[in-house]
Amino acid sequence: MRLRPILIAAFLAIGTATLPASAQDKSIVVASTTSTQDSGLFGFILPKFKAKTGIDVKVIAQGTGQALDTGRRGDADVVFVHAKAQEEKFVADGFGVKRYPVMYNDFVLIGPKADPAGIKGGKDIVVGLKAINDKASPFVSRGDKSGTHSAELNLWKAASLDPAGTKPGWYREIGQGMGAALNTAGAMLGYVLSDRGTWISFKNKGDLQIAVEGDKRLFNQYGIILVNPTKHAHVKKELGQAFIDWVVSGEGQQAIRDYKIDGQQLFFPNAGTGS
């Protein structure tokens, strides 16, 4: 019977595949953003949390919009995202218990070194975006309802422009994560809005560099929310709340502060500030 080894292998495989599920009693699912994962922050702070509490945190990295939707469907215990208005609506609609501010970094406008829009070194994001529009320079938009995407749309609004609505040829929505957007901007020599954490950790900078930074409108706040157990009874509220409590505690905040790439701090803790 030639099939027997295959059958045995497959049965072994299924047995092994079901193992992690039975060992998951002390774990939570956190729906978060590509920026927190791609920048390596979770890889740095989660082992510290695990060492202290023994709780496994399983991170699903999505855009903020999708992460909130994952929470809304009850497929995550905690959401950790960066779009304050959407987060507050999530809580107001009863899907989240309470929003805690955690940390911030800032957005930077990235562009090609050749700088076709002539905005390199600028401090005013509105001036920068208007120049991109006037010169019709390629601009890569996330187009995925992520936190960075909604921040970008707000900035265009501040510049009294609406490329997402009028869809000029130079405005390219790719519907993908931050890293993919940076790869695309690098390939088409376009401008792109990125969070600073992902930019610093990004390995394929090529001909890209920071064009505009330092505008206070580029502020990027992260918040964390427990999915409401009254909506979804299976939510692991004790474990989820334990993670939230740790993230906003002195210890969790210090872990965030300690995360550096090439000596640069990526995220700035500000729990308890009302941001």
Binding site: A10, A13, V29, R73, G74, G177, F202, N204
Partner: protein, 226 residues
Amino acid sequence: MSALELIVSGDARLFAIVGLSLIVTLSATFFAAVIGMPLGALIALTRFPGRNALIVILNGCMGLPPVVVGLGVFLLLSRSGPLGELGILFTPQAMIIAQAVLIGPIIAALTRQVIEDLWAEYRDELVAMDLSRTSRVATLLWDARFSLMTILLAGFGRAAAEVGAVMIVGGNIDGFTRVMTTTIALETSKGNLALAIGLGLVLISIILLINAMAWAVRGWAERHAG
């Protein structure tokens, strides 16, 4: 860190990822085969109204887009979906289900064709032997075992290569549902293009290795069992 360094240094995380990829895809191939092969054989040997339409649909389903299968299984297994009670979204089990759904039609459709051709060839003998339908199906499947092996490999290859379905239903969770293809997608998005292409070569090598092993088993079996 290049992929080669990871392999040479015996990086435990890389091996865990490769191991999970194999577990998920082999399990999915197994389930798809257990359901798909008898189903394909049964369709080959049976005449019923709407059979041609069913065959066209089955053949068409060989082209199911992984991302659509992933979305369908996601909606099914989500806590807000009909099977949400199981709580297996974002687990390896969900990934096995998605890949089995993806390649089940491939295995069933190809099996049907192989068995139908074989049936045309041996029909008179099998009818003369006065076998029940179940025995006919079993006999033909056994006779076609070497062709079926190739079909299994086709299904395995399809499942091992896809990223859309496992990304959606697995969530690409580090150390839990991260497999080769989702790692490659992630490293690409992080701009680690050298590592991504290196991991891609590792994946292709593994698929080649499994095909080589299957070929060796087949050669051995042909010599020993005829």
